[in-house]
Amino acid sequence: MFDIRKYRQAATAAEAVRLLVEDPAARCLAGGTDVLVRLRELHPGYDNLVDIHNVAELKPIVLLPDGTLRIGAGATFTDIMESPVVRECAPLLVEAAASVAGPQIRNVGTIGGNLCNGAVSADTAAPVLALNARLRLLGPGGERCLPAAEFHTGPGKVALHPGEVLLSVDIPKDDRQGWGGQYVKYAMREAMDIATIGCAAAVRLRDGRMEDVRLAFAVAAPTPVRCPAAEAAARGRSPDEAAFLAVRKAVVEDVKPRTSWRATAEFRLHIIRTLAGRVLAEAARRAEGARA
């Protein structure tokens, strides 16, 4: 038995918001792969739940008429991996979803839970930053949209206001079309392991030069981060060894890795520098094949 003290099921996102407003101590339960583990471990603060597991409106993955790719917060990792539109429009998200845990967890865990849980190691966090996604939130005052870069505010902390539910992760057309991208997870095992470092990059070329560059890391700082210094070092240059060497140098300014039982800060920095060059290079290579 899970130590659940209060449990209500929501049929719609609006009902979930109403239930969360009614009881500020309650939190959402989506796939439960974070929440139910915390409950097993008897963490306080997880025993009062609003269950959104079956909220149908949170599940679809669609391409909107304006070209925005909208991934429902309730889409599972498996849904993302198997979605033809995500494969086509945001392959780095497919790579991120495929890197999570094993099949059983991927069949249940959701992208919304992955982001809202606030873990710095969340595998979708860096790709969502590199895609410059917008998070669509529904709260008691209505809907608002937040850039992904403003969502993670501290370790385990996100910018959800009281009563808010994440509806979808939106990637506008201009942030995905013509871009090449990649996500690489560095972990000790090839499956069922949390990232030591996660790296996502997206590049758009113009006349053979890297016109737009986005680089993001998980577990490289207290929150998932974009890398403005490394991006500036690459912008406007042709994707060659000299450019990636500059990126490897500059990225040190963007990150603040720490030592944990998984890896030392020095080792993490080594992985960050290596991946920064390698993943950007692959993103640029893929950008060559991308249709504008």
Partner: protein, 158 residues
């Protein structure tokens, strides 16, 4: 906090009055289906794997109320009506893929889903390993398990 759950378990429709705090694993075992095991209880080992709408899930981390309206399959349901083994179960026996057997019910369900999804497709041993990454086995070293799945995919489905 109780709720009525109507679902099919191994093809049989059940209507149960369950505690909302119960996992699907607890619900199944309370129904006498003790083939499904609990190892870790936190999604790491896969001993509790069952199929929900033909997809493998860790039943230890799945609320029983989520089974409402869905089809659940456990290792017991894989037996043929005449009491014979399913092709996957038989392949495990033939390959010697069972030692202590604690992981086996969960692995059989992962393999069953894997074989159903990949029937007729080309699959490498690496694909099989990835498809079983959510199941731990402390005894066999996995080689014989991969052999069993490989054999199933090579023989024609019934």
């Amino acid at each position: 906090m109780r709720q009525t759950v109507t679902c099919t378990v191994n093809g049989k429709t059940l209507t149960l009055d369950v505690d909302v705090r119960a996992s699907l694993l607890e619900m199944l075992r309370a129904e006498g289906l003790t083939g499904t095991k609990q190892g870790c209880g936190v999604g790491e080992c896969g001993a509790c794997t069952v199929l929900v709408d033909d997809m493998p899930v860790d039943s230890c981390l799945y609320l029983s109320v989520w089974a409402d309206g869905r089809a659940v399959r456990t290792v017991e349901g894989e037996l043929r009506p005449d009491g014979g083994l399913s092709p996957v179960q038989q392949a495990y026996v033939d390959a010697g893929a069972v030692q202590c057997g604690f992981c086996t019910p969960g692995l059989i369900m992962s393999s069953t889903a894997f074989v159903e999804r990949h029937a007729g497709k080309r699959v490498s041993r690496e694909d099989i390993r990835r498809g079983h990454a959510g199941n731990l086995c402390r005894c066999t070293g996995y080689g014989a398990i991969v052999d069993a799945v490989e054999r199933c995919l090579k023989t024609k489905p019934e």
